[in-house]
Structure formats: C-alpha cells, structure tokens
Subunit: 463 residues, 2 copies
C-alpha cells in the first residue's frame, strides 16, 4: 500500500516562497500558473504517447538510409503540419547507408565441450566477414593490456574487449563513458596489432542476452576488420571458456556492408516568436534509430517530446515570445550529419540561437536539465529551479547538452540536455529491447511538459 | 545515444562543499566516504535483488493467513539468520484470513448488444455473492452524487463508483488519496441506500485490464454487500454502456469469504548498537502481499531493502552505534495487525525508539525520504541532504512515514518513509502485474543503500 499525499496543488502556491520583490513575485506567480497549465495539458490531453506508439509500432526501426527513416521523415512532417505550426520544412542532408544484412551468427567451443552459440550483432559501420571467420581469441580489459601482449598472442586472432561497466558509478552514463572507447576504437587498435576481428562486450550493466550495437570507427590507414558486440552473458561465457581453453576458436558470420550515401532530411517545425522572432530556441531529438529495435527511448521519446513541447505552448495559449523550432534530427546514431547540417545552415543564415535543448537520454521520469554554457548562464537557468521543483525537473547543473545540438556550440548561448532518470536506459540502449512498452505514459508526458516549461521561461526572459 | 558524464567520483569530494568548521569538515568527509562504501557494497555485491527473486518467484503471493505468508516468515527468518545478525526472532500476531476462492466472473450487456465480460476482482474483505448476483447499475463519481439520487435509482442495484484518478496531480500517491475513499467506504454507503453491491473503478491512471484489489470496509450496523474492483478499461466500457442503456444488468460471481483469524508473525532481525544499545532504529517493509500477484513492489522490495540495509552496515564494517532492527511486518494490507503488535510490544518493553523507517512505496529509483516528525527534526534530517545528493536520495521533507510504522507514532521521534519515484507504482499496485520483472536491480539496490546511509547517520548522530 502507499499513503503519501504530497501537496495536491503543487506549483500553485510556489511563488509565495520566492524571496523577491512584489513585482517579481507577481511575475513568478504568473509563471507558476502558466507552468501548471502546460503540465495540465500534457497530463490530461497529452499526444506524445500516441505519437510515439505510431512511430515505434507502425514505422519501427529507422536507421539512416533505410526506407523506414524516410517514412519517419514524412510522419514527422505530417504530424507537425497537422498541429498547425507556422512553418514545417525539411532540411536536405546526405547520410551514411549501412545495412546489417542477414542476422549475425557466432559460436565457440571450449576444449572438448559442445559448441555454443553466442548472442552477437555487428557494430554499426562494421564490414562483414565475407562468409565464416574463424579464429582464436585474446581477451583484454584495457588498452594497456593490449599494448603489452606479444604479437603472437594477437596476430590472426579476435581481440575480445571485455571491460565491464563500473557498477559503482551512480550515473549509468558515466559507466558508459568509461567503457564505450572499446566499441569506438576496438577494431582499429585490434587491426593495428594484426588481429582479424574485434569482439566487444555490450555497453550495459544488465546481465542478459541482448547484444548492443552502436557505432564503431575505422582508420583509413589501418586494415578494416569485422567488429561485433557480444551480449554481456555471451561475454561472460566466452571469458569463462577462455580460462578453460585459451586456444578455443570463435566463429563469426556477418553480412553487413556500407552502401553509398543517400539523401535524407531533418524535419523542422517552427512557431514564430511574438516579440523577438529573430531569436531562436531549438528543441529536438533524433529521428533515426539503430536497426535492431523500435528506437523508443533512443530517441523516439525525444522526438515526440519536442513536438509536444511546441504543441503544449500553442494549446495553452502561451505562444512564445521568441521563435521556437522543434527539430527531428537525422543520423545522430552513425554520423551526426543532421545535427551538423542544421548548425551549418543556421550559421549561413546568420541566425541568432538563444538556446538549443535536446532530449536524448530516454523518456524516463524527470530529473532536470544539464547545461553546456558559461557559469553565469548556468546560474541564470538555476534561478528557475523553484518553478520546476514541484515537477521534479529542477536538477539543473553543468553537463552535456546533446549530440545533435553539439554543432551549435559557439552559435547558441546554451546547449541544454533534458535529464530523465537513467537507471533503466542502458538496459535498452541500441538493442532489440528498446520498444514502445518500455516507455511510461506519464513519465514521457512529464518530460515533454518540463521541456515546454523551460522553453516558456527562455522565450519570455531570454538568457 | 547518450553522452552525459557526471562526476564519476560523486560523493567523494562532497565534504569540501559543506560550509562548516574544520572538525565538522573532517566528520563530513568521513561520512561521505562511508556512504560511498555502503553504495559500493550495494552496487557491486548487493543481495537484495536475488532475495527478491526468491521471495517473488519461489514463494509468490502471500496474503495474511495463507500458507505462502507462513513460508515467507520462515524465509525472512532464515535469510536474516544466515547474514549473522545478532538476534533474529518472531513476534506472534493473530491476523485476518480472507480467501478469494475461485476466480471472479462478471459480465454485462447493453441493449441488444452482445454480453461482454468485465475484468473484475473481489476487494479484500468482501463477502461473496453466493452464486450469481444480477442487478441493474447506477454510476456515481462522488458521495454527493450518491446522496442526491432518489431511492429507486439505488435500491436493488449495484452502485458503480467511477471517479478516476486526477491525472493532473504530479504525485500518483495524491491521486490515489483522492480516489481510494470509493474503495474503502463504497460498500457501506451503497448498502446504506439499499444497493445490493458495490463496483469500484480500479485505483490507477493506467488504462488496462488489470483489476486492482485492496481493502474495503464494512460497518456492523449496515448490511454487508459484495464489493468488486473493475479494471479501468472495464469501468470505461461499463460507463459507456450505461449511457446507451441505463437499465442494463450486471452479473457478478465471487466466492470469497473470511475465515477465522490465524496465528502469524512479524520477523525481526537485530544488530546491537555498539555505543547506545538501548536506542533503537527500526527499518522495515511488509511481508504480506495481496493474493493476486508476487507482491514485488508491494512490498517485497521494502522487505529485501530493509534486510539489505543491515547487511550493508555489517559488510562495510560500519557497525551501528545504536541498535538497528530490520522488521518484516505481517498484515499491512488488510489489518495492520503486525505494525500494531510491534508498537505494542515496544511500548510494553519500555523501548526507546529513535526513528522508524519504512519502504512501502515501491522499489523504484530514489528520490529521498518523507518525514513524520516535528519541524526541528525534519530540519535536522535535511542537514544530511548534501551527503545524499550524489545518490539522488536528498529529497527530504515532511510527509507520511508508513502504515506499518504508523502505530509507533508518539513512541518514535521520527517516522520516515523511503521515497522512490512513484510514476509506475499504481500501474502495478495490488494487481497480478506486480511481479519481479518490474523491479530494476540498480534502482532496488540504490534504495537499500540510501536507507543504509540514513541509518548510518541516524545511528552515529542521533536526532
């Protein structure tokens, strides 16, 4: 059972608590009431959950260059047109086109044991194996360990990068940051030492059989070798088997390949500012997803929340004083071409960007916002924390904005990342498990409303 | 994707930020490091998740008086004995014994339409229908509406209490508080007006077909009538059907009954305080659950977190200075006999209770603690917020402690409820969906560590 009744009128009486002069108190009261309107609209008549259902279940996985990515572009455009935004348009951008081909297969056998299958998937951008690739395996957990291996322990083998997430870290994003170098640099460093392939432990604390894909890199001066992610359970089993039989052979078959770049689009929906139309606030997520799943939390939620944030402002009559653009960026996952193009076009047009907000950490229950800006700007944003506290969106501090909005650095005064709770995020990230049912309606709506609230304040007060 | 790297050393450098004299700074640094030890132990070697798996999957639903409740008592005792707590013992308590019997059935038919089944379950404590009970239905959303109905619109009918959760409320517990009176008083108020039964909309914002059980009440001076919960979708369908055909008949069949009280137990595990053994800190959850599901979030998580909190203190060498008791309370759901008994025995023994902590709001990602105490005590607890902030457990404020520890009011200086995020809680609460797979390992462990951290501070500094 649970009987924990917090203030039912949260947000309504807040202004009284702000130690400010009378005029500012009136403004704070107005703001408090307006934020409440945005949340009411989201919680009672929110559209983001239904939008997300459509994107996930009717379109599904939408890697850059895929037919589904094109469907998603059309869906995004039509969805914003139906909402009556002032202007909805596409920004053309050429994107990479990598395809997985037939589902990957892998197996290994320790000593005289039975051959066992290993759950694997190609890392994004990897070359294929051109049939079956069979080789011995050497396991490492650090670059140093790899550097110290004698050549004959690496040459002709798979290098198996098996450094796990550091579970002590409270923020899973920090654990990801401490492990993802293996996925990015693994194939280059392995090939430099003469290895025939790279096997990388999946980027998660979860113990399960979902392999996690994600971008890997090659260097034109180093032989390209196939690179695959192993599920954490497969990685554990392989590691145990290697202790038993250091010369076991691992067999991998992957049919992935990179095709020529194709034309795609960012989708932009704009509402003109009523007072300062030339000052722009961008809010966005990325429309592309990895090919393995529905891309629900990564990043369908960010897309539908961005659209919803604009819808909430219009539906509540809080038309922004500065121009606001909801942007569905293409190709965050394997190139960031959309984000790069958006910033280029903004620069070429001489646009003044006040701030850019991105939601790309999953649509989980709100925590606040992380801000990439100078200290004074961060402090200025923190002054709004009391207004956001009733909604648990008041955790405002310095941090990363987002990949898509990253290229706006230097053009926008603040890059702002929406922070939801992230404990569950890396269970799903880049896997077949990132599906619509993992998203909670109210958590999603609270996030979109929080973004709308921040835009309302930014558009009214500037920075 | 996500690249949001917060301080990897969260919690280690915190003491520097506290504006306190040198000696206090040293203490704060020690405390900060000790909290980090508790969290490390929980996140790297936590046992609560495996304990919960056993409780949910090997024992399962465990309503007071059931054989599974007895198994849970033995499991709790053995689990704490194996951990080497100083003393593990049972507190005998007589508990109600209500049984559901065969699964309930319900159906209705509007006009000349087809008969449709409705997802229902008996409310806890309800009498059965003694075969099929068929009657017309009158829908109300408030007591006022019921009061204004003419007798002939109520007599011989089911009263259908269909007031939904107020979705505008940010805290789902507040929405629950605004609707649960229908479940508690519905049958009495319906019978008082001559109705033959009560149908109550399930206590949730979720739109699905899980009926939510929970305790209802009778009054010895008023005829007892059967009371059932309808899933929210069934309630919506019935409401729509009534608009079409106000005289439709609803058919309900329930075989539930109340048997004589049976003997059961609270399970208590104690670690003696090294300095102040006579001052007691209790930490607990309730061992009983409703009969429909595994009682994962309600309240298996509270039980395993309470055990874990003690284990963490011992495993890290932070033996508490005051006596700490992990208590698995029996019968929170339909009587609170265990909580009442515990407080009675404590009073009779003249025990001094410093504080009692309860986790009974689900094992979700941490928010903080809600405190039932005088303002000075709340403020004292709030001074520890900076130490808990790196773990997101710093939301400390006045609020409800918990049902099981409620009877300690006046005996304990503070009643403290562990607050996890609650957006998902009422999707599962009292339903067949409250299963182990809904609990996230790290969220659960972070909660147990947060409780251990608070106990560490309480046991060191008192209140």
């Amino acid at each position: 059972m649970l009987h924990r009744f917090r203030s039912a009128a949260a947000g309504l009486l807040l202004s009284a608590a702000l130690a400010v002069p009378a005029q500012a108190q009136t403004a704070a009261k107005t703001d408090s009431l307006n934020l409440r309107k945005l949340y009411d609209e989201a919680l009672l008549r929110g559209q983001s959950y239904d939008n997300l259902r459509y994107l996930c279940q009717n379109i599904g996985a939408r890697l850059s260059g895929s037919p589904q990515a094109e469907q998603a572009v059309q869906w995004g455009k039509q969805t914003m047109e139906k909402l009556g935004f002032d202007r909805v348009y596409l920004q053309e951008v050429m994107v990479p086109h990598w395809v997985r081909g037939a589902k990957e297969k892998a197996s290994f056998k320790a000593g005289k044991g039975k051959s066992q299958d290993a759950a694997v998937c190609a890392l994004g951008g990897s070359i294929g194996t051109n049939g079956k690739l069979k080789a011995k395996v050497v396991e490492v957990r650090s670059w140093d360990e790899l550097a110290k291996l004698p050549d004959d322990k690496v040459k002709g083998r798979f290098v198996f990068f098996n450094r796990p997430f550091d579970d002590r870290l409270i923020e899973p994003g920090a654990a990801y940051g401490g492990a993802v170098d293996q996925r990015g640099r693994g194939p280059i460093e392995a090939a430099r030492r003469g290895a025939v392939g790279a096997l990388v432990r999946s980027m998660t604390s979860a113990q399960d059989d979902y392999p996690h894909t994600g971008t890997t890199r090659y260097d034109d001066k180093v032989t390209k070798v196939p690179a695959a992610a192993l599920s954490t359970l497969a990685a554990n089993r392989l590691s145990a088997a290697l202790k038993q039989d250091a010369d076991l052979e691992f067999e991998l078959e992957m049919a992935c390949q990179t095709l020529p770049d194709v034309k795609s689009y960012n989708v932009v929906g704009e509402v003109k500012g009523s007072k300062y139309p030339d000052e722009i606030i961008t809010v966005g997520g990325h429309l592309d997803s990895w090919d393995l799943a529905q891309g629900a939390h990564d990043d369908g939620t960010g897309c539908v929340q961005s659209i919803e944030a604009l819808r909430l402002l219009l539906a509540t009559g809080l038309r922004p004083e500065r121009t606001v653009r909801a942007v569905l960026f293409m190709n965050e996952e394997n190139g960031n071409r959309g984000g790069t193009k958006y910033a280029e076009l903004a620069k070429a047009a001489g646009e003044k960007h006040l701030a850019a907000i991105e939601s790309d950490g999953g649509g989980f229950t709100p925590r606040g916002f992380s801000v990439e800006a100078n200290a004074a700007t961060v402090a200025r944003l923190q002054r709004w924390a009391p207004l956001l506290a009733p909604y648990h969106a008041d955790g405002i501090g310095p941090g990363h904005g987002g990949t898509d909005i990253g290229p706006l650095k230097g053009q926008a005064q603040a890059l702002i990342g929406y922070d939801g709770d992230s404990q569950r995020y890396f269970d799903l990230h880049h896997t077949a498990a990132d599906t619509f049912d993992k998203v909670h309606r109210r958590e999603l709506e609270l996030g979109g409303a929080g973004m709308a609230a921040l835009i309302y304040l930014l558009s009214k007060y500037g920075l």
